[in-house]
Amino acid sequence: MPSVDQNKIRNFCIIAHIDHGKSTLADRIIEMTGLLTSREMQSQVLDNMDLERERGITIKAQTVRIIYKARDGEEYIFNLIDTPGHVDFNYEVSRSLAACDGAILVVDAAQGIEAQTLANVYLALDHDLDVFPVINKIDLPSAEPDRVAAEIEDVIGLEAHDAPRISAKAGINIEEVLESVVKKIPAPQGDPNAPLKALIFDSLYDSYKGVIVFCRIKEGTVRKGTVIQMMATGAQEEVVEVGYFGPGQFIPCEELSAGMVGYITASIKNVKDTAVGDTITDKNNPCDQPLPGYKKVTSMVYCGLYPADGAKYNDLRDALEKLQLNDASLFFEPETSVALGFGFRCGFLGLLHLEIIEERLEREYNLDLVTTAPGVVYRIHKKNGEMMELTNPSNLPDPAEIEYMEEPIVSAEIMVTTEFVGAIMTLCQERRGVYLGMEYIETTRALLKYELPLNEIIYDFFDALKSRSRGYASFDYEIKGYERSELVKLDILINKEEIDALSFIVHGSSAYERGRKMCEKLKEEIPRHLFEIPIQAAVGGKIIARETVKAMRKDVLAKCYGGDITRKKKLLEKQKEGKKRMRQVGSVEIPQKAFMSVLKLDEG
């Protein structure tokens, strides 16, 4: 391929609040540029995984190169980099943005600006991207494009009076968006003859090619045979192939030069060697400085994953290993629980990431899982000066050895209509939030700023937020750091036996409340046995709550109708089937779902 005129390249992404139509617009752009007919497109090409399509969110960054013949008669190369759409993947989002020169901001013509709209715009502006807005869903009866345009100008300060007013779903005014990309997004810069400097913004594992690295060339040129070096991880390999992204396929080419977006393969066996955010350079002609912004991704949320059937332990390990090939942010190590047997302690970027992994294990690998309550990483400062990071509550040292503990804190922004401000402030207060301030976006909407402990928001904060604002509140957060906190370990005893898999760390002030709710929930979940079963919550050996599962008193089958033995047998089978889904702990049979019950302590 002859070297490409940088002026004819546009590298951009689409940013939006969830459900404002980002993926649909991406589909339309691909369709308009004639790469696929609409029949070939299984709706939303860029969201590859079934799960992504079902949940309507983008989990992995996806990229496509398209050719657009503009009204000025010139052909332009568009590299559309679709970014993940969830706060769990904020770092990936920031690296994807760093690969772009500009962004299309999609705003819903009915809902207007939401928390993620702002968060994403600020993130894009931080990366010096040129952002232009489009107003989507103008075909909705409740659409108010004029009001939303004014809101964009007032709140964000982006010029919006000439923003394309479109319906991605109905295909209205898409060409205007493409023209705006040409006019408003700058062409990339960079010297093709300078030492190689390329940003890794994603990678995936292919069993034939090894790791395929997605990158944006900032300076220099890379081609087959170049010996590349990852500046942070130090990995080195000779390039086997370079190319660009066709829709759904990789298209090899001669070289990638400054300004271009494409992929590199180099017989790399492990995605861990190609960390997102790292800089690729030429080993024989290295650049002097890596690109800014690289961070080592760390797991924020941990939980235990156990096979429901103990014999499936090896299957679970194989499945986790396979998932990890494509997901360097998934962490796991073997652990053993008295109650659940052999399993893994797994680390995730956030609760959504956890749920996705769990679902993929169950669906794609056909595994039945028992998950323990997710927790965050606590820092334990011991009296002897040591600091340990605690990911499993069972490993908490003796309280006598602990000087103090710290927990992760997030800065959160919640956007809500003014009528619900009170309710949301109450919620944040209940969750130990520290109020930082409030800004009015318009007369009817406010942006609340809080600092919240991460462990207060990983369970059901989002649901509570939605229910207390009738669905109107939107939410975004980022990790701020660690703070000292009065934390205790809450233990659950069933029939006087401590169940390690049910222990969790909680703030001292809510231990009693959580303990009580746990006991109530477990009382519902644990079936009656031949004997009475006490369920207790304890902190430091002191019982703070108790419930009792009464002994079985009566369980008699009804009359059988005529000779309908089959029906009677079905009843008995149901009873027997229930027993199979139990974990025997001591003399008590505990249903597997009880181990997840901590997740469902309704706020009432």
Partner: protein
């Protein structure tokens, strides 16, 4: 000895459906009832041809309310049974009857046709409780029916009762038992009310245990049943069935001990030659079957050939419903393996928990085992 085949004949009609009932039954026009009886009679003739090697030790006309049918219809059915099946000398022939549907004319005709046992659905001797159940009769009306039955010369009568009813108390239940016991029927069935899905009771009471006697009260009622009836000369021979000596219901014992039976009529169940199946359950479809021409597949559905494993399971969970329990020697005779080889772990565990007791060669439920029989019996599924 010839093989035994019990007959169950289903009459799916009643005057009004009771609020707790989930049986296959309901009110219907007289013409529809007559059409049904014609069809049933044809089914009896056609089916009998398949079972020439069998002798019939019992016939049970159940429902629904079979006594709702006219004297003529019952006689036609019985005549057909007698002419096409080999009815054993002294066979037990039962009809279910409800107060308010039984006339002297019907009773005489039944007796003539060979019916020798009547099962009367009373449920309670308390008129308020009867009303709550959606029954159409009072206790007095039952008494008249009962006396009429005795006058007609029936010497084998069962009375159906129900405990744990809405509004029922331990003392009202005791009073029902005593009143009924003093009438000296030969047999009493006393079941606890079960709230079944799809009934008005389900809508009313499901999820509202506070409206019904709680399980402690229910168990007290159950213990009182055994005590009171025992004192009046009835012995409990099955979890919910009581009889004077020698008056146990042979037909039902057949169900619990693996006797073969043929169901005739809408939705009825059969167990013959190791296979379980049931009849078409849709009345319209049932009546449209051409019994002579159509293949039996239109009538018989849900065929299930029992494996030895399933036969063992049934032997245990059905047999244990009877107070005498299951016999280890009978198990060995039927299956050629020792019961303790198959169920040793289960039997030992249940015995340790005092849920069953052994009295060689029998194993039977204890009183505690009866209380939680569902749990105990499910242990015998392999």
């Amino acid at each position: 000895m010839r093989r035994k085949l019990e007959l169950y004949i289903h009459i799916p009609f009643c005057a009004k459906k009771c609020d707790y009932c989930d049986f296959l039954s309901g009110p219907a026009a007289v013409s529809a009832q007559q059409r049904y009886v014609e069809q049933l009679i044809e089914e009896i003739a056609c089916q009998s041809a398949h079972y020439p090697e069998y002798q019939v030790p019992s016939v049970y006309l159940g429902g629904g309310t079979p006594s709702l049918l006219g004297a003529k219809e019952i006689c036609q059915i019985m005549e057909q049974v007698k002419s096409v099946f080999d009815l054993e000398e002294g066979a037990e022939v039962t009809i279910e009857a409800n107060p308010g549907t039984v006339t002297m004319e019907k009773l005489k005709a039944w007796k003539e046709s060979g019916i020798n046992r009547i099962s009367i659905g009373l449920q309670s001797a308390d008129d308020v409780e009867l009303k709550n159940l959606g029954r159409i009769h009072t206790y007095d009306e039952f008494l008249k029916t009962y006396q009429r039955v005795r006058q007609a010369g029936f010497g084998n009568v069962n009375i159906d009762l129900m405990s744990a009813l809405p509004g029922q108390t331990l003392s009202s239940w005791r009073s029902t038992l005593k009143k009924v016991g003093r009438l000296k029927p030969e047999h009493i069935s006393a079941y606890s009310l079960a709230i079944e899905e799809g009934t008005p009771f389900y809508q009313q009471y499901h999820g509202h245990p506070e409206l019904l006697p709680d399980e402690d009260e229910e168990r007290e009622m159950y213990y009182a049943t055994k005590q009171i009836l025992h004192d009046m000369g009835f012995s409990r021979y099955e979890i919910s069935n009581y009889a004077k000596a020698g008056r146990e219901c042979r037909h039902n014992i057949g169900y619990w001990t693996g006797t073969e039976y043929l169901g005739l009529g809408l939705g009825s169940s059969s167990y013959i030659r190791g296979i379980r199946f049931h009849n078409e359950e849709d009345l319209g479809k049932y009546c449209r079957i051409r019994m002579k021409e159509d293949s039996d597949d239109r009538l018989h559905q849900g065929h299930l050939r029992l494996t030895d494993k399933e036969k063992m399971e049934e032997f245990m969970f059905l047999g244990l419903r009877m107070m005498r329990g299951v016999s280890g020697s009978e198990f060995l005779k039927r299956f050629g393996v020792n019961m303790w080889n198959v169920y040793g772990d289960v039997l030992t565990k249940l015995m340790e928990n005092h849920l069953i007791e052994a009295d060689s060669p029998f194993v039977r439920l204890t009183d505690f085992g009866i209380d939680i029989s569902n749990y105990v019996l499910s242990e015998f599924l392999l």
